[in-house]
């Protein structure tokens, strides 16, 4: 395994325009209807122009898993996402509170926890990413993000030296 860590959905807030097409696309794939209440990615907008989309970050030492009193949450060995055992989950919401990013929803219908699963069944990858018109959303590992930050800082320093 060449890559370090699992990929998760990353949003670049400078590119996010707040259009919420990611919410529409996610909810369609998950519920066959456009219903952002079921979207596992949500756009947060603090007026007027601070905004970004947030989905599960696949934390290494995931607080949601630790918080669950019924051991309903486990990590997928395939792609690192949080798996919800719906037989065990009773919708208590401890995981929702434990998540530092508000990335877990309780389904209004089933009342179970629902978390971004990176759409393993969708051929072209997560539809939130493919529908993002500004390429603000991408799939990246923490290591790739670190590399990007390092590149950005060096580029900025070089710019200042000019």
């Amino acid at each position: 395994m060449g890559e370090i860590g699992y990929k998760h959905i990353v949003c670049d807030p400078t590119l996010c325009t707040g259009c919420r097409l990611c919410e529409y696309a996610c909810s369609m794939v998950k519920t066959r209807s456009f219903d952002p209440n079921y979207s596992r990615i949500r756009v947060v907008r603090i007026e007027p122009y601070a905004m970004m989309a947030i989905a599960c970050r696949l934390c290494e030492d995931a607080p949601c898993i630790l918080a669950c009193p019924r051991d309903a949450l486990t990590r997928s060995e395939v792609n690192g996402t949080m798996l919800v055992n719906t037989d065990k989950c009773d919708g208590c919401g401890w995981c929702v509170e434990a998540c530092d990013f508000g990335a877990i929803i309780l389904s209004p219908e089933s009342k179970h926890a629902e978390i971004c699963d990176l759409c393993p069944d969708v051929q072209d990858g997560p539809p939130c990413v493919s529908f993002c018109p500004k390429e603000a959303l991408s799939l990246a590992t923490p290591e790739v993000l670190r590399q990007q930050v390092r590149r950005d800082v060096v580029a900025r320093l070089m710019e200042e030296l000019k």
Binding site: T14, T17, G18, C19, R20, L21, Y24, A25, S27, M28, T31, R32, S33, F34, D35, N37, Y38, E47, P48, Y49, P108, P127, S130, F131, P133, K134
Partner: protein
Amino acid sequence: MHAYTGKILHIDVTTRKTRVEQVTPEFLKRYLGGVGLATRLVYDNTPAGCDPLGPDNALCFANGAFAGTTMPVGTKHGVAAKSPLTGMIGDSLSGSQFSEMLRRAGWDGLVIKGQSPSWVVIFIDDDEVRFLDATPYLGKGTITTQEAIREAIGDENVRVSAIGPAGENLVRYALIDNDGRQVGRTGNGAVMGSKRIKALAIRGSHGITVADPDGLMEATLKLIKVAQGPGTLKYRVLGTPSNVLNMNAIGVLPTRNFQETVFDHAEDVSGERLHEQYHVKSLACAGCPIACEQWGAVREGKYKGARIGMDYEPLFALGPNCGMGSMPVIIKLVQTCDDLGLDGMSAGVVLSWAMECYQRGILSKEELDGVDLQFGNDEAALIMLDKIAHRDGVGDLLAEGVKRASARVGKGSDHFAMHSKGLEMPGYDVRGLKTFAMGLAVCTRGACHNRALSYEIDIKGKVDRFTVGPGRGKMAMDTENFACILDCLVLCKFLRNCFDDFNVDVARIYTMATGIDLSPEELVAVGERVCNLKKAFNIREGWTRADDWLPPRVFEDPIPSGPGKGAHLTPDELNYEIDDYYRARGWTPEGLIPRQKLIELDLADIAEDIGVEMPIANVAAGEG
């Protein structure tokens, strides 16, 4: 039926009673939604001759078939009522999240009538309607009100459409704001204020199903990708403010109340300058892949902290048109209008009219409450906007719009009251755009570029813009019909260059969303139908051919300098074009609609109200 819910919510704020009207797929298909549906609801629910600021006027909201879906730029809504500014149909459009929430609450439209005994916030929570006390929000700005209501309800998913002080005080060009996007122009904010509704809050918990999910997802994803291409480049990069230098270069940028058409500080207030020096972020309405809203912020100087999503129309109106040559000043002025709930275009043209009155000694400093209202005086303009929104002193006069204000002031001030049917003019000087001149004159909403859309004919060089000639009537009708189709669907006009074959593509996606069969021909027919419906509303309100006219300046004052120097319109030219337009529409020479025409347009019930017989001579000429 998918996408649509087939339900219209009627609310009477006098009695606080509500009822649900069921509508059929056949009905929805005839008007689609947005402006078409809202106008039909106004036509059916507003008695002829009613006071636009009285309880009988129906304030109607309608979303479109695509609200809350991945169809790009389809999440917009239309609002219509009888306009307190023009006395005719007042149809507006706005983007943002309200449209999606209206659909998710289970509604295709709202009809609001009556007058509440006390100020209220109407909270539509799915099919439950509550009337909340609006006292805590009175006098507050549009954005502050929305956030305070969300906080009071305790759910950030609630979307709010609110009026500002201008709407509360019945300024005839007050707007309704939702999430920083506006239902502007014809004074629907004043209609809402007259009903003592400070805001509409809405929360929906339903999902939106579509008839062909896979087909729709595939087709809309393709459009989203195309929308990142050349067809939308202008809107994505500089936004509509890119018009400043373009209009200036061809000498049609209205300057100092349309006295000139070239602005000496155009560079300083250009889209390019905004982009380079003030741009912070591009924002999108819900479901929009373009993101045309170019936010600018002032980082230093006396207007430090001012910020706004800038568009060309308020920019021209409050900028060059008021002699303002500084971008920070314009950002501050536009933000002030949005917050007070004033339509920035009308407010700008009202201010510039008052400035010219002051320049010519028609209004003295005393009559202007001691304000030194010279062109370019930003502090005076800010004071005056506040006076208008609160109808304080001379603000009470200016709150009436230029048509009424000039009639009251007299002394020849109507010569330069730049409006048609009472609606203040947009940012393209019609003396150098003669097809558009007619387009504005005949427009049912008054002087509106968005409904007419015929500036494209002149600016793109399809005709000689300084002359009139045969065929312009049909060309103007075609742009108007096309704009109308977009306004009914609703689709934002900025996507219009992204289709292979607009009618075929959109009709197909409409059917994928709704499950209702719609042929390209039927889609095209909606444009003509709704244009005639709007005209029918105006005829019922007493419209005559004399209302399709332009202010004296465009005939009597040739453009003084620049590329358009010497250009002006003659009454004969405008009459020639209007005749041509009425002929193309199949109307009588007086601009009335023949009964047979209305029946052909599937508006037989309206034919009973306002249809006339076509004079024999014209029938023969038409057949020849």
